[in-house]
């Protein structure tokens, strides 16, 4: 019986966050993917409030919400693997947490809006909103990285994990929708950060293949368009 289990699969960026954290800490765990369209008994029992993945189960006790899980992993395995994920000082921790709030509350919804946009106009608006958010993160990166490779400085830190999980989805959407979202010209620092992040051993180990994410995105888009067409008939 594995002491550490994780419900979900890395196609979900929120699950990927927790997998990156576990990988950074070199923690062994059992991955329990859910079947698309179905929720397992274990998931419903472990996350009755939201019924969503990821759920970390440690010594039979569930922890839900990706940001909560990553902080938990950092606290339980403090010196393991690559060391601490949350920054050492309180002020930097507050900054990483603030930007994580921003990513979850504003940036991610605008990314979703791009995928869901039904008109060219709506798509353009969503794209501009997303890019504006990335430009703020570009500024934040310059300040927080202090010339180093990551938001956490020399080491992959909390915000690197919380934002980096979306990289493969941003790239998949750029390919399928023929868009540039992470513009090298206006976001050179973030561009460099993506390269460093993707190259990190712990990240490479769990990052899903771009091809798989592209296929998945195409599939859910097709499903959504079909549902919309069926609704109007």
């Amino acid at each position: 019986m594995a002491a550490v289990k994780l419900i979900g699969s890395p196609i979900s960026p929120f699950v990927l966050r927790t997998m990156i954290a576990l990988s950074l800490k070199k923690v062994e765990y059992e991955l329990l993917p859910e079947k698309l369209g179905e929720k397992s008994e274990l998931l419903l029992k472990s996350n009755p409030v939201y019924k969503k993945i990821p759920v970390l189960i440690h010594h039979d006790r569930p922890i839900c919400e990706s940001a909560v899980i990553v902080e938990y992993i950092d606290q339980v395995w403090p010196e393991s693997g690559y060391g601490a994920i949350l920054p050492a000082d309180a002020y930097h921790r507050a900054l990483h947490r603030f930007w994580t709030f921003y990513v979850d509350d504003k940036l991610f919804p605008s990314l979703v809006a791009i995928g869901k946009a039904e008109t060219e106009e709506a798509k353009a608006e969503a794209v501009e909103q997303f890019r504006a958010g990335l430009r703020l993160l570009e500024e934040a990166f310059v300040k927080l990285s202090e010339g180093k490779a990551f938001f956490g400085g020399d080491q992959v830190g909390f915000l690197d994990v919380m934002l980096g999980c979306f990289v493969v989805w941003i790239e998949a959407m750029e390919e399928v929708l023929s868009l540039e979202l992470l513009e090298e010209a206006t976001m050179p620092a973030l561009h460099g950060w993506v390269v460093s992040f993707r190259a990190h051993e712990a990240v490479k180990e769990v990052m899903p293949e771009s091809g798989k994410v592209v296929e998945f995105f195409k599939m859910i888009r097709a499903m959504r368009m079909k549902a919309a067409a069926d609704a109007t008939n």
């Binding site: 922890i63 839900c64 909560v68 938990y72 309180a90 002020y91 921790r93 947490r97 603030f98 703020l136």
Partner: protein
């Protein structure tokens, strides 16, 4: 008469110099410390109140600055350029934004006071989970109770009662959400205790009928000075919401 909705009812200056010793040096140190910690806030904001309660629980001296949201100060715009919102805690010139981020910061910096988050990782994760739940659910659903009508209002009412029941079940028979100790989830939720009257009046239900343990918990929290000195009378909150409704042209 200012056209803003925020009512400046009293000049409640929140310069809390909570010192144990009577010595002049302590008083001086307290005054200096108060300058080092500034809270940009609005009197009725439950998010700002979370920060005020946390600061009071830790006995931290600070300067309170009331913002006029219709006329935001240059300090606020500079301290929170991303959202331009309160609350903002400014500590030694460095701004911290997002109320629950601020509460965690206060807990970590003034670590010699009673802990707000528990030390045990699992208990801490549970506290963070429930703090996040309160953050995601109460305020946004609450707004719909007084802004919307008809079908949408009924939806909001149903959802809000469900939220109350989930919290009631989570609290159970415990003294506080944190157990015996007043903590993070209590701080995240208790400002909304002063909003229960508004929610039930606008929603057409009784909070006490739907969640009696939650109401008892709120009253227990009000026995703490940090809470009773921070929360406003529920009728004042209701007056405030009524003035907002007028401003937005809602009947």
């Amino acid at each position: 008469m200012p056209q803003t909705a925020s009512l400046h009812l009293t000049n409640r200056l929140h310069i809390h110099i909570v010192l144990e010793s009577e010595s002049e040096r302590e008083r001086e140190r307290g005054a200096r410390m108060a300058e080092a910690v500034v809270l940009l806030d609005v009197w009725v904001s439950p998010f700002g109140q979370r920060c005020r309660i946390a600061l009071a629980e830790k006995g931290v001296a600070y300067e309170y600055k009331e913002e006029d949201l219709a006329n935001k100060s240059p300090l606020l715009l500079q301290a929170n350029p991303v959202h331009k919102k309160i609350p903002v805690l400014i500590h030694d010139g460095k701004p911290v934004c997002e109320s629950l981020v601020i509460v965690q910061y206060i807990d970590e910096v003034w670590s010699d006071g009673a802990p707000i988050l528990p030390a045990d990782p699992y208990a801490r994760a549970q506290a963070r989970f429930w703090g996040d739940f309160v953050d995601k659910k109460i305020y946004d659903c609450g707004i719909r109770l007084w802004k919307l009508k008809g079908e949408a209002h009924q939806e909001a009412k149903k959802e809000f009662i469900e939220i109350l029941k989930v919290l009631e079940a989570e609290l159970g028979d415990r003294k506080y959400f944190g157990g015996d100790a007043f903590g993070y989830v209590d701080i995240a939720l208790v400002p909304f205790f002063a909003w229960f009257y508004t929610y039930e009046t606008c929603g057409g239900f009784s909070v006490e009928a739907e969640a009696p343990k939650l109401v008892a918990w709120g009253k227990r929290c009000m026995e703490r000075e940090s809470v009773s000195q921070t929360l406003y009378d529920p009728l004042k909150v209701y007056e405030f919401v009524c003035s907002l409704k007028k401003k937005y042209g809602i009947e």
